[in-house]
């Protein structure tokens, strides 16, 4: 359950709309069920009143939409940014993808988001989900009593290692406490590193074999903002529409992770939207962990204008030939 209420946010947005300070509000719109929330653009207080939602399912990172809206819309756009979203926002500003003048950024403290997939995995025919302090009561067609799932169990993967706020100049900051993380985000990466190459190979072979190349991971990613992706471009030499075989699956995911390496803020949207539940964040986190340990800690999007590690270098950088021995030493 979010400590900040939807009313606070929609009220704030409505008053700015009415005052003419902003012309549009980018937020979350309620859906058919309690969990299927859609990012949406609101243009009036009435629309906000009717459809605006802010709850544990308002996971979607809205910052990428600002690229399109700051280009196509003429008025100022209010956007709600959760702490994790501020990193993406900063990174997009760094890469000149957003016209900051056109954005009214409101920081929303977040108490942790719920993973709809985790809740639905064990509940068929959900009719309602009610949020409580401790977790969620899931009402279904098949049971009279609602099933309880605790907040911890249902927590979205990325929230387990919440980064808090980026260093950012927001136009407005809603007061409130931010969810405190409990996990080391590199645990799984290190566990994989400690496996044998065969185990790692089979792990990824199994995960990536499910890929259907729907491109949802790419299309949702706030770092994937190319005008045209190399995988869509027949002239790039690597264009491919389908995950035809295990090579194409790996090619796509390695290159995608490489292209966002150093720019990925670890917002976790790729894994969240994957229809096949492939833990794509483990590829991005691998790069982040390597960058942190080889070249010093770097958090993309923490500061606007910071220089990404792959467009930077140090004369004393680790040699590619030393990488494995060095890391084995670190992990031992």
């Amino acid at each position: 359950m979010q400590k900040v209420t939807a009313k606070t946010l929609s009220g704030k947005a409505a008053s700015l709309l009415n005052a003419g300070e902003v012309k549009y509000v980018l937020g979350w719109k309620k859906g058919e069920f309690d969990y299927d929330i859609t990012p949406a653009l609101f243009e009036s207080a009435e629309e906000l009143e009717k459809d605006f939602v802010w709850n544990d399912f308002s996971c979607a990172n809205l910052s990428k939409y600002l690229i399109k809206y700051t280009r196509s819309l003429s008025g100022k756009i209010l956007v709600f940014l959760k702490p994790c979203d501020t990193f993406s926002f900063n990174q997009l500003l760094t890469e000149h993808r957003i016209d900051r003048q056109k954005v009214y950024a409101v920081g929303v403290p977040c108490s942790g988001m719920a993973d709809e997939k985790k809740i639905r995995e064990n509940a068929d025919g959900i009719t309602a989900i009610s949020e409580t302090e401790e977790g969620y009561l899931v009402h279904t067609l098949y049971s009279d009593a609602p099933a309880f799932i605790s907040k911890e169990e249902a927590l979205l993967e990325k929230c387990l290692s919440c980064k808090g706020w980026a260093h950012i100049a927001l136009d407005e900051q809603i007061e409130g406490e931010v969810f405190a993380p409990s996990a080391d985000r590199f645990d799984q990466v290190k566990a994989l590193e400690n496996m044998t190459p065969d185990e790692r190979y089979h792990f990824w072979q199994n995960e990536l074999s499910r890929c259907i190349r729907c491109n949802a991971c790419r299309d949702v990613c706030p770092a994937c903002t190319c005008e045209k992706c190399v995988f869509d471009n027949p002239n790039s030499g690597v264009e491919n529409k389908a995950a035809a075989n295990s090579f194409e699956e790996k090619m796509f995911h390695i290159i995608r992770a490489f292209h966002v390496a150093g720019r990925c803020t670890d917002c976790g949207e790729c894994s969240r939207v994957c229809p096949q539940k492939i833990p794509l964040h483990l590829l991005n986190r691998k790069f982040i962990n390597d960058i942190d340990s080889f070249y010093g800690e770097y958090q993309a999007g923490l500061d606007e204008g910071s220089r990404a590690p792959l467009v930077d270098y140090d004369t004393g950088d680790l040699e590619p030939s030393q990488v494995f021995d060095w890391r084995d030493g670190q992990n031992a």
């Binding site: 299927d36 859609t38 995960e207 491109n215 035809a244 096949q276």
Partner: protein, 342 residues
Amino acid sequence: MRKLSLENLNLAFASIAAKYPLYLPQDNSAGDAEYKKWEQGAKWSDKTNTVKSPKDFFFPQTEDLMAFQVSGKSIDIIDTRKESEDFVVFGVRACDVKSFEVLDNVFLTEPADSYYASRREHGIIVSVACTRPLETCFCKAFSIDPSEPAGDVSCYKTDDSLYLSANTEKGEALLAVISEYTEEADDAAVSKQKESINKIMDRLPLASLTPASFGGGKTKEFFDAPEWKSLSEACLGCGTCTFVCPTCQCYDIKDFKTGSGVIRYRCWDSCMYSEFTKMSAGQPRTSQLERFRQRFMHKLVYYPENNNGLFSCVGCGRCLSRCPIHMNIVKVMKALGGKKDE
């Protein structure tokens, strides 16, 4: 009606698998169901839906059509088709069975797609009634009865048994393979199950959904509807809905250069993609709104127009549960007036 004790289910599967490749929904490591080839020890998933629909069996995501072998400056054309064998797809839900009809209309109308036709001919479909429809299910809207699944064999799973009845000759032949494990039974248990399914169907959140206001000839009515803008606003342009959809049938034909030759293959394409049907003059649909509209207009208006009113949606609910931004055909239908007056 034949009855198979669930205790013998594995034995039955084994005897089918001895004769045909047998595919059935199994749980994968991600906790979802997917169609996999049956092997000793495999467990039939309890999940209502698989992530990808079984259309893959007849219209696979990628399929080689032919190949060209280059040697020096001469090119040989090679037929890459292999001799097809019969195969069994087990545990198909009523909605997915219906989807084959939608695909048949596309691929089997003259000129028929011989690749698809061959697979259809060799495929034996064993359907199963849904006992636990999900909140995302709305097959009823398209007049599909999940308690009356079609296919070569229809079956009903109860706590202890599987009731099977053959609907076609292919189905009869399949039942003959497992006859040693089945016995004749009346349909009392089945009727009971049908009744309970129908009760649940009425309680589903989307029970009242209807496509009545859509259909052939409604192009003008919906094409310029202002609602498309807000509906498509958040669409990422990914292909999730298309690729999990049992009825989407668009594909692209591409050449893959292997170095010593070329493989010509086809693969699923998505009308949501910005590169979809790109021609020398560019794309016909340049905005996401147009692409988004195309998908739903096709399902709800264009397809029925060309196919005697049959909608190109079977209400399986896959897009509802998988779309990254939760935009889907139900929201579209409701926004454009598909809700029954209550």
